[in-house]
C-alpha cells in the first residue's frame, strides 16, 4: 500500500521541477510573442483539459482556450518569473467561468455552495473492485457530474499532477479548501462509480 504513494510523491516532485523549469526567468527582454510561445504553448494541453472538463464541450473549450490565450498574450508583460502554467490556467479558468455564468443566466443552473454540496457526500459504501474496473464512459460521466469546483481540483490534481499550492493559486482558494474539495470529489466519485458498477453487474 505504501508503494503507490511513494510513486505518486515522486511524480509530484517531477511535476514541481517541471514548473520550476519553465518559470525560470528569461533574460531576454522585452517580452515578445516568441517568449510567449515558448512559455505558454507547452501548457496548451493542460489549458484545454481544464476548459474541456469545466465546459463539457469540445467547441466551447477550444473557444475559451483561444480567448484565454489572447488575453494572456495581451497581459504577458505582467508575468514575471512566476509559474507560467498557474498564471495561464488562472486566465483559462476565469474565461471558462465567465462562459459558465453566461450559460447559467440562460439555464438557471444550480450555483455552487460549499456547504450544500458537502452535505450530500455520504453515499453508498464504495466498492474498490468496481471502481478499479470502471469504464472510460462511466469515469467521464462521474467526473462531469461533479460540481465545477470539485471537478477542476480533481482534474488538475489527478491528470496534471499539480500540487495543492498550484491548484490553490489557480482556483483562488486556500490550500485547505483544495484538500477538502479533493476529498469530497473523490468520495463522490467512488460512490458514483460503485453505484454504476453495481447497476452494470445486475
Amino acid at each position: 500500500m505504501r508503494v503507490p504513494f511513494a510513486a505518486r510523491r515522486r511524480a509530484q516532485t517531477d511535476a514541481g521541477e517541471r514548473s520550476a523549469d519553465d518559470a525560470s526567468p528569461r533574460t531576454r527582454a522585452p517580452a515578445s510573442a516568441s517568449d510567449f510561445e515558448s512559455r505558454a504553448l507547452p501548457h496548451l494541453d493542460a489549458a484545454y483539459r481544464l476548459a474541456r472538463y469545466l465546459l463539457g464541450d469540445d467547441a466551447d473549450a477550444a473557444d475559451a482556450v483561444q480567448e484565454a490565450y489572447l488575453r494572456a498574450l495581451r497581459a504577458f508583460d505582467q508575468l514575471r518569473a512566476d509559474d507560467a502554467r498557474a498564471w495561464l490556467l488562472t486566465i483559462v479558468r476565469h474565461t471558462c467561468y465567465t462562459a459558465l455564468a453566461a450559460r447559467r443566466s440562460r439555464d438557471t443552473e444550480e450555483s455552487f455552495d460549499e456547504d450544500v454540496h458537502s452535505s450530500t457526500d455520504a453515499g453508498d459504501s464504495p466498492d474498490d473492485e468496481l471502481i478499479r474496473r470502471a469504464t472510460r464512459e462511466s469515469l467521464e460521466r462521474a467526473v462531469a457530474a461533479l460540481p465545477a469546483e470539485y471537478r477542476e481540483a480533481f482534474v488538475l490534481r489527478e491528470v496534471d499532477g499539480m500540487s495543492y499550492k498550484e491548484i490553490a493559486t489557480i482556483t483562488r482558494v486556500p490550500i485547505g479548501t483544495v484538500m477538502s474539495r479533493l476529498a469530497r470529489a473523490r468520495t463522490r466519485l467512488r460512490s458514483a462509480l460503485t453505484r454504476e458498477g453495481e447497476e452494470h453487474v445486475r
Partner: protein, 268 residues
C-alpha cells in the same frame, strides 16, 4: 464495513496520498493509519480511484487544430505592431501618388478607370493582412462589437450616424447565421463597418468600406489559419473573415450577397 474513523488524521489522508505532507506530518498520519482499519481502507479507495482515472479517464489533450490556431494567433501578434506602423506610410504614399496621378489623369481626361484599378491591386495584400489583424483583434474580449444587436433594423440606423455609407446588413438568422452585433473600425485608412455574425461557436466578421472591388465572383484567401472572402457591391468592398470551414463560409457569403438590399431607414 468499518465505522468511519473520527480522528482528525482522517482529513489528512488525501494530503498523505497526494504527497502533500511534511516529513513530520507524514510520519504522524502513517502511524495512525497503521492502527486504523477504516483509514487504511479509505487510502486503498483513493488508490483504486487514482488507478482507474490514470488508466481510463479521457485526458482531453488540445486538438491539433486548436494548437495551430493559437500558434498562428501568437505569431500574428508579433506582426501586428509592424503592420500598424507601416500601413499608414504605405497609404500616405499611395495617397500622394494617387493625388498626383489623379490630377494628371483628370487633366487629360483619360485612363481614369485604369488608375482606379492600379490603386486597388497594389494595396490588396496590405488590406488582406489588416483585415485578418482586425479579425484577430476583434476576438479579444470586449472588442467584438460596440452595439450588440440581433436585429438588422437596429444596426443599420446605428451605422447611419457613424459612417458616410450604408452597408448591407442582411438578416441571415433563418439560415443559421444570426447577427450578433456591429462596430465601427478603421481599416487601411478607411472608416469601416464591421458586422459580426455567429455560426455555432464561430464568429464571422464582415468588414466593409467604400471602394471598388471586382464585381465578379468573390475572391478567397487563406491567411494565418483564417479564411477570408472579398467581394464588391454598389461601390462598397466587403471582407468576410472567419475560422469557419470553407463550405460554410462560402454558403454564408452566397447568402449575404443574395440578400436583397434593405430599404434605407429614413435615409436619402
Amino acid at each position: 464495513m468499518t465505522a468511519p474513523c473520527q480522528s482528525d488524521e482522517r482529513a489528512m489522508l488525501h494530503a498523505l496520498a497526494d504527497g502533500e505532507l511534511s516529513q513530520a506530518e507524514r510520519e504522524r498520519v502513517e502511524a495512525h493509519v497503521a492502527e486504523c482499519a477504516s483509514c487504511r481502507s479509505e487510502l486503498d479507495g483513493i488508490d483504486a480511484l487514482h488507478a482507474a482515472v490514470e488508466e481510463r479517464l479521457p485526458r482531453h489533450d488540445a486538438p491539433a487544430e486548436l494548437r495551430a490556431r493559437v500558434k498562428s494567433m501568437v505569431r500574428h501578434a508579433d506582426d501586428a505592431p509592424r503592420l500598424r506602423a507601416t500601413v499608414p506610410r504605405w497609404q500616405m504614399r499611395a495617397w500622394r501618388w494617387g493625388a498626383i496621378a489623379a490630377t494628371a489623369l483628370l487633366a487629360v481626361a483619360v485612363g481614369h478607370g485604369l488608375y482606379l484599378r492600379a490603386r486597388l491591386i497594389a494595396p490588396q495584400e496590405v488590406a488582406l493582412q489588416e483585415v485578418v489583424s482586425n479579425h484577430v483583434r476583434a476576438l479579444m474580449p470586449g472588442h467584438l462589437y460596440d452595439v450588440q444587436s440581433t436585429d438588422e433594423h437596429n444596426v443599420k440606423p446605428w451605422f447611419a450616424g457613424r459612417l458616410d455609407f450604408s452597408p448591407d446588413v442582411p438578416d441571415l438568422s433563418a439560415a443559421g447565421f444570426p447577427l450578433l452585433g456591429a462596430r465601427v473600425d478603421y481599416v487601411t485608412s478607411h472608416p469601416a463597418a464591421a458586422l459580426v455574425y455567429g455560426r455555432r461557436h464561430h464568429v464571422i466578421n464582415v468588414l466593409s468600406w467604400r471602394g471598388q472591388a471586382p464585381s465578379g465572383s468573390p475572391e478567397e484567401f487563406d491567411r494565418n489559419g483564417y479564411h477570408v472572402v472579398r467581394w464588391g457591391r454598389d461601390g462598397t468592398v466587403y471582407w468576410a473573415t472567419s475560422d469557419l470551414a470553407w463550405p460554410e463560409l462560402r454558403e454564408f457569403v452566397r447568402l449575404f450577397r443574395a440578400a436583397p438590399p434593405a430599404p434605407e431607414p429614413g435615409g436619402p
